[in-house]
Symmetry: C2
Subunit: 225 residues, 2 copies
Amino acid sequence: MDNDVLRQSPLFSALDDEAATALRASMSETRLRRGEVLFHEGDEGDKLYIVTEGKVKLGRTSSDGRENLLAIQGPGQMFGELSLFDPGPRSATVTAVTDATFSSLSHEDLLRWLDGRPAVARGLLAQLAGRLRRANDVVADLVFSDVPGRVAKALLDLADRFGRTADDGVHVHHDLTQEELAQLVGASRETVNKALADFVSRGWLRLEPRSVVIMDIERLSRRAR
Amino acid sequence: MDNDVLRQSPLFSALDDEAATALRASMSETRLRRGEVLFHEGDEGDKLYIVTEGKVKLGRTSSDGRENLLAIQGPGQMFGELSLFDPGPRSATVTAVTDATFSSLSHEDLLRWLDGRPAVARGLLAQLAGRLRRANDVVADLVFSDVPGRVAKALLDLADRFGRTADDGVHVHHDLTQEELAQLVGASRETVNKALADFVSRGWLRLEPRSVVIMDIERLSRRAR
DNA sequence: GACACACTGTGACCTGAAGCACCGACGGCG
DNA sequence: CGCCGTCGGTGCTTCAGGTCACAGTGTGTC
């Protein structure tokens, strides 16, 4: 249940049981249904969220209305830290891609917490550093890789985080439409569809609605690099 | 001199004079000439650097040898924090684009420092959050903007950080070749050159070797969004 | 002064991917 | 049950931008 998920999240992992219980007391719960928006890019807000159930997408919209997804976050992962440490409006819109629940913590409460606990601060620094590293990787991919390569990479990442291995391959219930997958890799829906079709015809994977079964991780990984 | 630059850097800004002097004592100096490499992507290393003089480029190389620049850092700015908080090999190669000097601080020393000083930790978190926010902006630009737009944006950013306003416009000594500028915006040298030539023909700017004079910031900004 | 080399400027192609148009399949819902 | 909206699949056309090729222009060095 919730408690377990929270305990695994990077914010809590450095805490002892007692501290964890105390921190949890100052957190509140939110729940959303698929498609509902938690907050919009540009909104005010200083809460940090941790997903306890379901998945969300973090997206930005360009001036001409096109959309781009920065990340998909699932159970145990957090978001909203940006407005927390670097005050300012929210930099992305957060939408539930499945029904989802969150625990949230306000700016003040977190900072108060941080003061006496260098280990937690270090944990958060590590967390942010990791995010930054991955953001840089995304930049490199956009510059160096073609669309099929980025699609392959995205699938592998999703598999890594949401996949379940079975004897016919790795089942990945990503809960994304192809449109969303396209926004995630920064390409058009059509091109992504064609890349997927190509992978299928090579026998690397099988498509199911809002999910894929990866049958040849080896080949797919090679295509991704 | 050096001391002033360090005092302005985000790491030091939250410290009182006494603390700053103490911290400075545990830092060491490095100097590089234009073109020399401080460390390579993949190297081991856990030092954090602050530029005290000159400029460096942080770059990555793809498997097939093409290069991409993540950032240009000048006086007062830091780099190398990633390997610090998220241990692992260096994620980028750092090369001096002008003769340059740095102050550096080791992993251990910094963490020791952090423990008693929540304000410093917060400063670092803010710093990282800012970097992450900007990295996300770069991703959005790669997805949404065309090459001329990205070139315009890069020039404005460089102007913001290294520009000097004079009566004939903003002089930006970026110290980058067009090749490097191209790597910074993720495009080919030729296309960047053509974009620049176009801006010149419109009277928005004037080109000088390794530097530009922006004559119509207004128009250039409009082209950038 | 002259040679070399690194950088800039510009044209002629070629190609990956976006855009468009359309079709079929599914899943609510009146 | 049939209608409609969302989603997935596929061809055709168009175009931004990468690649190639080459010509100027500095600038440091012997």
